[in-house]
């Protein structure tokens, strides 16, 4: 299982790839608000959700949908870690 920092790096890589962002993954900080920093709307957030399921093997339930969960890389990493138990 990847260490927390490794997991965060993988999340950043996935976000950059899926959203075709013109930014280096390691330039995304762990706690910046992704929605504000990268103009992420519902369409792009959908790409992130699909990426989480495909790349990290987690399955989201209705109850998992909250803006807070996807707000930062740290929050997403916490969510994945919790899902993996």
């Amino acid at each position: 299982m990847p260490q927390p920092d490794e997991l965060k790096q993988e999340i950043k890589q996935m976000i950059v790839e899926r959203l075709f962002l013109d930014v280096e993954p390691n330039h995304i900080s762990d706690d910046e608000n992704l929605m504000e920093a990268y103009d992420i709307d519902s369409v792009l957030l959908f790409e992130i959700v699909v990426g989480l399921e495909e790349v990290f093997g987690v399955s989201l339930e209705d109850a998992d949908f909250s803006v807070e969960t996807f707000a930062t890389v740290s929050n997403i990493a916490d969510f994945i870690a919790a899902m993996r138990g």
Partner: protein
């Protein structure tokens, strides 16, 4: 307004008329291709790309025909009165028109997302189309509808704030009433028909040449698309790194998708000409 070499057609389907745009090949040709649009909002987002692709493909000596399904775009009827079963009949009506009225000897189909799935799923597709180009087809309709529910959940989550209730969104998607799906009134019948589509069930029936494009952020064809390619006897599967233009509102490049398609179609045209010559 269509440019020179393009004309507007009205093609009968059932009791309605389909609005169509015919893009004549740059050089006189008896080969043609029908464009099959994706579903709902994806059609709107993909419109510019499909128009540009049709114009580009006239350069590989293909007459291209784009059309609106009944109840969509400029075709007659209301969106909520039709279902995918009707739209598949539209595809066959347009194919019949291309053969009989436009003297198309070799006819193919280019479909995007649900349009690709409907084209291959349409009854007699293998007899009607000599080749097919599938751009990121919907492989499993049930999964597609689940993804659409996801989209609705995310949209509601971001717009409703503290009033967001996931169960309300799910009830709308699973109930018997019309679903307001991004401004489109989608009936339960349409939802059920889409959910019942499975490309793996019909793939092996289509034995003519197929180009399967996996439009993705990765350079390898996904496992699911590879399996689909194996299930279709004469299929070339390629991954094209490009943004999913069918759900982007702004200008998104589709150059690689169009180029990959034009190259394959040019090769196919050459092989058809060679086989005719020998």
């Amino acid at each position: 307004m269509p440019s020179s070499g393009e004309s507007i057609l009205q093609i009968p389907s059932g009791e309605d008329l389909l609005h169509a745009v015919y893009h004549r090949a740059v050089h006189e040709s008896a080969s043609g291709i029908i464009f099959c649009d994706p579903f709902a909002e994806e059609k709107k987002c993909a419109h510019r790309v499909l128009v540009e692709a049709a114009r580009a493909l006239t350069g590989v000596d293909l007459n291209c025909l784009r059309f609106d399904y009944r109840g969509c775009g400029d075709s007659s009827g209301e969106f909520h009165d039709f279902t995918p079963a009707d739209w598949m009949k539209d595809i066959l009506a347009v194919a019949d028109y291309m053969r009989s009225e436009l003297a198309t000897a070799t006819l193919g189909v280019l479909g995007l997302r649900l349009g690709a799935t409907m084209a291959i799923s349409a009854a007699e597709a293998a007899e009607v189309f000599d080749f097919a180009v599938l751009w990121e087809p919907i492989i499993n309709g049930e999964q597609y509808m689940k993804m659409n529910l996801r989209r609705s959940l995310i949209k509601a989550m971001m717009t409703d704030g503290d009033n967001f209730v996931a169960d309300d969104v799910r009830r709308q998607h699973t109930g018997t009433q019309m679903l307001d799906f991004d401004g489109y009134q989608v009936s339960q019948e349409t939802r059920e028909q889409i959910a019942g589509m499975d490309l793996f069930e019909v793939a092996s029936h289509f034995t003519n040449p197929v180009l399967l494009l996996n439009i993705t952020s990765r350079e390898e064809v996904s496992d699911q698309f590879s399996e689909l390619a194996e299930a279709m006897p004469h299929t070339r599967a390629e991954a094209v790194v490009e943004e999913p233009f069918w759900n982007r509102i702004g200008l998104v490049s589709s150059q690689r998708v169009t180029t990959a398609t034009a190259l394959w179609l040019a090769e196919l045209q050459a092989s058809i000409l060679n086989s005719t010559a020998t």
